[in-house]
């Protein structure tokens, strides 16, 4: 153990970086939090399935970003002469009934899938955390009211509920995202509430209460950081369901509207040609499968890493 | 050197150069580093602070160390059984039958959905079981032996319905049912209040004397062990740094033992500050002459 402090200027030096990240004495708040990230990353790296999932998702993100390079012609260039071509060197995944390249549509569609996933997570996590921690911390009538509302949402299957919302709001991708978010927050709130109930009587919460902290400060600065890991894990695990719901809405024609290359809608469009041109449905189907599986496996891996007991 | 027990009889348990090592990709942790002792028909206390390896030593005797632990010894034997060479199947005949173990919190060790009396009856070895009524009588007799005033009532209780002190008595009754000849008690009274602790210890004391048992009493409480046991082994950083007759603990010579004794507050003590233990790296390696 050395009392020596490392100036931040040393960070970029490669061998020094590892030593800095694994130093027993952390000398700054930034080093302390980066060290946590680094140790988490090291644990994740030791989990092969989670790493495979991470690689798959990284590929998906790369494909989404590079879509204009992969398919410069866009997702909607029709070629009625080349309809329903099987996979070949020119069209890796074949073409659909309007002669559109399926790879191009898949790549552009990755953007839609990722956008839905990101937006839903960004909407659901704060709402779920806020409702769950408030219900858990305050208890009493606050808990009763929030949790009964929660129960109402939880008592419908999520696709049915999303269908209802989309039917009311009108089809389209924006409404699909709103509908999915409305169905996805209750389990997060339940989880955050359960975590809060175990944390609320901990001595460290009592300690901050007798420092005179307000309830909102206790929730925001002391309870939320403890709930966050399990919420992240749960959202990652639920991401598979979210993607499937989005695809389901697309399949039923209530999500992304043609000609948008949403994977569920592509799957739906291909179902008429299932016997003659299987690739129309199989390719977007496989993409949905792989993406949901990857989110699921990554969620499992994150659970092992983020579990505070593993420290 | 062949370890000898204090009473001069052939020791029941012989531990010679016991070592327990944990290997992780980052480092090697030596939890126990060459511990030797023998136990006969006597009460031997093992005292040490957290991390001294005292619990690990107790567990190693029953081969209950975690799977990652590497255990080695020149000799680890009980009677004529070599505990290190025994198969898991052979260990089943030793564990609980010939050597029993009492844990710190009885409520974690009892099955929450089974009546206390039935659990004690389960502890009777299959070959000694009789008719249900006979077994029940033996359990009731055992509950009486641990000074439970209303055995019939306690027989029908569930573990959550008994207090800590009562739970520990039940635990002792259960462990003694197969008539073991050595008892390992790992902090058996640390979870109990001080006055309840005295009662449980008195029962343990009586049973050990009556039933011709050997006892290994593992604890962090130097005072308690010294007043309860015949002989005390003091462990520090995985080694026994000192061994002495319990009644002569006050004359202990090792600076660690002396430091521990001095740092204890006592009723009737007028020192303004307590002497703080200054840990000497030499304690990690040197033997006391």
């Amino acid at each position: 153990m050395s009392g020596e402090t490392h100036p931040l200027g040393n960070v970029t030096r490669a061998p020094g970086l590892r030593a800095w990240l694994t130093a027993e004495v952390t000398a700054s708040p930034r080093q302390a939090s980066l060290q946590r990230l680094y140790y988490g990353w090291r644990r994740l790296r030791n989990n092969p399935t989670a790493m495979a999932a991470l690689v798959a998702l990284a590929c998906l993100v790369a494909v989404a970003i590079l879509a204009p390079l992969i398919a410069p012609e866009g997702y909607d260039e029709q070629n009625l002469a080349g309809r329903l071509l099987p996979p070949s060197g020119a069209h890796w995944f074949g073409t659909d009934d309007l002669g559109r390249d399926i790879l191009a549509r898949l790549a552009w569609g990755a953007r839609i899938t990722l956008m839905i996933a990101t937006l839903v997570a960004a909407i659901v996590a704060p709402i779920g955390l806020l409702v769950g921690t408030a219900a858990g911390y305050f208890g009493g009538w606050v808990d009763a009211v929030l949790m009964r509302v929660n129960d109402v949402f939880l008592s419908f299957p999520s696709l049915i509920l999303a269908l209802g919302f989309v039917a009311a709001l009108g089809p389209g991708i924006r409404n699909a995202i709103i509908a999915i978010s409305l169905t996805a927050w209750p389990p997060i709130a339940r989880l955050a509430r359960a975590e809060t109930l175990t944390i609320r009587n901990a001595d460290y919460i009592a300690a901050v209460r007798i420092q005179g902290a307000s309830a909102s400060r206790i929730i925001a600065r002391h309870i939320v950081p403890m709930c966050l890991p399990s919420v992240i894990v749960r959202i990652t695990l639920n991401m598979a369901g979210i993607i499937l719901t989005a695809a389901g809405l697309g399949f039923l024609g209530l999500g992304a509207q043609p000609p948008m290359p949403e994977w569920g809608a592509m799957l739906s469009a291909g179902r008429g040609h299932l016997t003659g041109a299987w690739w129309l449905s199989a390719v977007p189907g496989a993409a949905i499968l792989i993406t949901s599986l990857a989110f699921n496996l990554l969620g499992d891996g994150l659970r092992d890493v983020l579990d505070p007991r593993s420290e | 050197m062949m370890p000898q027990s204090v009473t001069g009889e052939t020791p029941r348990l012989v531990v010679d150069d016991l070592r327990i090592t944990f290997r992780t990709p980052q480092r090697v942790i030596e939890a126990v580093r060459g511990v030797s002792f023998a136990v006969g028909r006597e009460k031997v206390g093992i005292v040490g602070e957290s991390g001294s390896g005292k619990s690990m030593t107790g567990r190693a005797i029953l081969r209950l160390t975690p799977p990652r632990a590497e255990v080695s010894a020149k000799r680890l034997s009980f009677g004529d059984t070599d505990l290190l060479a025994s198969t898991e199947r052979q260990m089943l005949k030793v564990r609980g039958r010939r050597i029993a173990m009492i844990m710190q919190d009885p409520r974690h060790a009892l099955d929450p959905v089974m009546r206390v009396g039935e659990q004690i009856a389960e502890a009777i070895p299959a070959e000694r079981r009789g008719r249900a009524a006979e077994d029940r009588d033996r359990v009731l007799a055992m509950l009486e032996a641990v000074h439970i005033r209303d055995p019939r009532h306690v027989y029908g209780l569930y573990p959550h319905e008994v207090s800590g002190g009562m739970g520990q008595r039940v635990m002792i009754a259960m462990m003694l049912m197969p008539e073991p000849s050595l008892l390992i008690a790992d902090e058996p009274t640390s979870a109990l209040d001080v006055t309840v602790r005295l009662r449980v210890l008195a029962i343990l004391d009586e049973l050990v004397a009556e039933r011709n048992l050997g006892l290994i009493f593992i604890s962090h409480d130097l005072n308690l062990v010294a007043s309860f046991c015949d002989r005390v082994l003091i462990m520090y950083a995985g080694r026994i740094v000192e061994e002495c007759v319990a009644s002569e603990l006050a004359r202990a010579r090792h600076p660690y033992t002396r430091g521990l004794l001095a740092s204890l507050p006592r009723a009737g003590d007028t020192r303004a500050r307590l002497p703080v233990l200054a840990r000497d790296p030499a304690w990690m390696t040197s033997e006391l002459g």
């Binding site: 153990m1 009392g3 004495v25 952390t26 000398a27 700054s28 708040p29 302390a32 946590r36 001595d203 460290y204 009592a206 300690a207 901050v208 209460r209 007798i210 420092q211 005179g212 902290a213 400060r217 600065r221 002391h222 950081p225 403890m226 505070p308 420290e311 | 602070e49 957290s50 000074h147 005033r149 209040d193 001080v194 006055t195 602790r197 005295l198 210890l201 008195a202 029962i203 004391d205 009586e206 130097l222 005072n223 308690l224 007043s227 430091g259 521990l260 740092s263 204890l264 507050p265 006592r266 009723a267 009737g268 003590d269 007028t270 303004a272 500050r273 307590l274 002497p275 703080v276 233990l277």
Partner: protein, 253 residues
């Protein structure tokens, strides 16, 4: 400094504290000793405002206390908890734990104050950006004490501050508390199940059983074996270790 009269606390059907009265003059350390469930920790939680459901009269620093305390109260009265593993937020560094009370009360100069209090509890600057899981039990308890002291309270409540620690570490923490109390002229209440610790630290001692103080005596009286109540005598005997004769007499009770 602290006066408690006829304090009663009930949870559901059980009466946990059943008419406790005591008085602690300024800069004195008062000890409450008793076994689990005797209500001693509940008394502390009521005093520091963590438990609002009580009846009776509590006066701290000349002010009568209501069940709900204002923010200024917490600047004067702080508490150290029993379990240093449970009383520190696992995801807050030492620095965060110590700056949080200052931020709540809008006190500036956090940097210097944190450094000073760390020095005072014997931790030093090297620990400043560590997480609790990187500290030993004794170091955690020093941090918990530092957190209680950073608001410069006048009253320090100590709930079994050393019962989760090894004896050699216990001696260090008890010495630290002795020193800090002198330096800062603190009025303290120490709760413990260990009569020896209480006798070592406190000027006056209340022995609690079943929610009542059954005997109150000075440390000198205790040391001169002037205890009268049978329960105090039993506790005293038990604190000296195992005694076969006593144990056997008790075993049948």
């Amino acid at each position: 400094m602290i006066a408690v009269r006829d304090l009663r606390v009930s949870f559901a059907a059980a009466t946990v504290v059943d008419g406790v009265s005591f008085h602690v003059p300024p800069e004195e350390m008062f000890g409450l000793v008793g076994e689990s469930g005797c209500g001693k920790s509940t008394v502390l939680r009521v005093l520091c405002g963590l438990n609002p459901a009580w009846s009776g009269q509590i006066v701290i620093g000349g002010k009568a206390m209501s069940p709900v305390r204002d923010r200024a109260f917490f600047k004067d009265v702080q508490m150290v908890f029993q379990d240093p593993y449970g009383s520190l937020h696992p995801r807050h560094t030492v620095n965060t734990a110590l700056t949080e009370p200052l931020a709540i009360h809008g006190i500036g100069g956090a940097d210097g104050r944190v450094a000073a209090v760390l020095d005072q509890v014997g931790l030093g600057g090297a620990f400043r950006y560590r997480y609790p899981h990187q500290l030993s039990g004794g170091q955690r308890q020093r941090l918990a004490i530092a957190r209680a002291l950073i608001l410069e309270p006048k009253v320090l409540l100590l709930d079994e501050p050393t019962s989760a620690l090894d004896v050699s570490v216990q001696a260090e923490i008890l010495n630290l508390l002795t020193d800090l109390r002198r330096q800062r002229n603190l009025t303290c209440i120490l709760v413990s199940h260990d009569l020896a610790v209480i006798a070592h630290m406190c000027d006056r001692i209340g022995v609690m059983q079943h929610g009542r103080i059954v005997e109150e005596l000075t440390a000198d009286q205790l040391n001169e074996n002037a205890a009268r109540h049978p329960y105090t005598i039993e506790l005293l005997a038990a604190s000296r270790g195992y005694d076969r004769a006593l144990g056997e007499r008790l075993a049948d009770e």
